[in-house]
C-alpha cells in the first residue's frame, strides 16, 4: 500500500517533468537581463568571468547573506554536536586501528599541493572558472584528507575562528568603503580596474574573492571537524 502510493507519487511527478521537458524548446538567445550582464561585466567591472562579476558585485549583498548562512550553519552544527562528551566516540575494549604510515606520509606530500591548488582556484575567480566558494571547497577537502589520513591531528579552532571572523569583518568593511567611495554597498570600483585579463584587475573583485575563499575554507573545515568528534 505504502509502496504503491510512493510509486504513484513518483510517477505523477515523472509525468509532470516529462511534460516540462517535452514542451521545452532550447533557447536561441539570452534574455535581456543576461545580455545586460554579459555586456556590462567586462566593460564596467573589468572581470572576464561574468558569473563571478554578477555574484560578487551586482548580487554582492546576496553573497554576503550566503556567507552569513554558512556561518550560522557552522554555529548551529557546533551547538548541536559541540556539547557531546567524547567518551561515546570509541567503544571500550576495542583499540582503534593504527593509521597506515604510508597513507600518512602520502597525505603529507599531497596536502601542500591541494592547498596550493585551492589558492590558485581562489585567485583565478575573476579570470576563469573558479572563485571563493569553489576554492574554499578545495581547501576544505584538503582538511578532510588531513583528518582521514592523520586522525591524531587537532584543528586549531581558535585560529580558524579568528581568521574566519577577520575575513568577514574585512569583507563588510570593503562593502562600507564601496558605500563611501563608490556608488554603493560592495561596489568594486574602490580600486582601479587595471588591465583587462590580468591578476591585478577588476577593482575589488579579487580581494573580495580571496576573503570569501578564506572564510568559506575556514567555515567548511570547522563544520567537517565538528562531525568528527
Amino acid at each position: 500500500m505504502k509502496a504503491a502510493s510512493s510509486l504513484l507519487a513518483v510517477l505523477l511527478f515523472g509525468a509532470v517533468f516529462a511534460g516540462i521537458v517535452g514542451g521545452y524548446g532550447e533557447r536561441e538567445s539570452v534574455s535581456a537581463l543576461a545580455e545586460q550582464y554579459l555586456a556590462m561585466v567586462p566593460r564596467e567591472l573589468g572581470a572576464p568571468n561574468v558569473v563571478t562579476g554578477i555574484l560578487i558585485t551586482y548580487r554582492g549583498f546576496d553573497t554576503l547573506g550566503e556567507v552569513a548562512v554558512l556561518f550560522m550553519v557552522a554555529a548551529g552544527v557546533g551547538v548541536l554536536l559541540g556539547g557531546k562528551d567524547t567518551t561515546t566516540a570509541s567503544e571500550p575494549g576495542r583499540e582503534p586501528r593504527r593509521p597506515s604510515e604510508l597513507v600518512g606520509n602520502g597525505a603529507e606530500i599531497t596536502l601542500p599541493l591541494i592547498f596550493l591548488f585551492g589558492a590558485y582556484v581562489i585567485k583565478n575567480g575573476h579570470l576563469s572558472a573558479g572563485g571563493g566558494f569553489q576554492g574554499g571547497a578545495v581547501v576544505a577537502s584538503g582538511t578532510m584528507l588531513l583528518m582521514l589520513a592523520l586522525p591524531a591531528t587537532k584543528l586549531n579552532h581558535g585560529f580558524l575562528g579568528v581568521t574566519e571572523s577577520l575575513a568577514g569583518v574585512v569583507y563588510v568593511g570593503i562593502g562600507i568603503l564601496g558605500l563611501v567611495f563608490a556608488a554603493g554597498f560592495l561596489d568594486s570600483h574602490i580600486l582601479p580596474l587595471g588591465e583587462f585579463g590580468t591578476l591585478i584587475s577588476a577593482g575589488a573583485i579579487p580581494v573580495i574573492s580571496a576573503l570569501l575563499g578564506v572564510k568559506v575554507g575556514a567555515e567548511l573545515s570547522v563544520i567537517i571537524d565538528r562531525f568528527r568528534n
Binding site: E101, L102, N105, G106, L116, Y120
Partner: protein, 172 residues
C-alpha cells in the same frame, strides 16, 4: 621564520625544497611569468611550505646531481616495469581461465626516509602483480598475484631490488 624555531631543527630543513617545488608548480598551473603572479606565488607557496614543512620530516630531501641522475634512471626503470605490469595484467584478464595463486608475502626494505618508502611502495603497487598491504618497521607485506616463493629474501630480490638501489641513492 625565526619565531618558535623547533629546537631539533625539524621542519626547517625541508622548507627550501618544498618552497621551490610549490613555486614551480604555481608557475606551471598559472602558465604565466607576469610580475603579480610571481609575487603572489612566492608569498603563497612560502606560507604553505612554512606550515607543512614543520609538520613532518617528509620533505628532508637533498638534491644533488647524483640523486637527480638516479631519479631519472629510476623513472625509466619504473615506466618499463609499469608497461610490463600492464601487459601481464592483460594476459590474465583476457585469458579464458584465470589461473593464479595469490598470497601475501613479506619482504625486507632498507630505506629509512619516509618519502623513499612511499616511493618504493608506490612503485611496487604499480609493477607486475604486487600490491603493498602494510609496512611495519623494516618488513613490508606485499600481496602477490602469483606467488613464486615464500622466502623473504628471494621475494625481496624479485620484487623490491630493481627500485631500491636507485631510490636509496635519491632519498636515502
Amino acid at each position: 621564520m625565526n619565531e618558535q624555531a623547533p629546537t631539533d631543527g625539524k621542519g626547517i630543513r625541508g622548507l627550501p625544497v618544498l618552497w621551490l617545488l610549490l613555486f614551480i608548480l604555481w608557475l606551471i598551473v598559472n602558465a604565466s611569468l607576469a610580475t603579480p603572479i610571481l609575487i603572489t606565488g612566492a608569498v603563497i607557496s612560502f606560507a604553505i611550505a612554512l606550515i607543512f614543512a614543520r609538520r613532518s620530516n617528509v620533505w628532508h630531501i637533498a638534491v644533488t646531481p647524483r640523486s637527480a641522475w638516479h631519479f631519472l634512471t629510476y623513472t625509466s626503470v619504473f615506466f618499463t616495469e609499469l608497461v610490463k605490469a600492464n601487459l601481464n595484467m592483460l594476459r590474465y584478464v583476457y585469458s579464458p581461465r584465470i589461473d593464479i595463486h595469490p598470497g601475501i608475502v613479506r619482504v625486507r626494505i632498507r630505506l629509512k626516509s619516509p618519502i623513499g618508502r612511499l616511493a618504493l611502495s608506490n612503485s611496487i603497487a604499480l609493477t607486475p602483480g604486487s600490491l603493498v598491504m602494510d609496512v611495519r618497521g623494516e618488513t613490508m607485506f606485499v600481496h602477490w598475484l602469483d606467488v613464486k616463493t615464500t622466502d623473504p629474501d628471494q621475494a625481496t630480490e624479485m620484487i623490491v631490488a630493481p627500485f631500491e638501489k636507485h631510490l636509496e641513492a635519491v632519498f636515502g
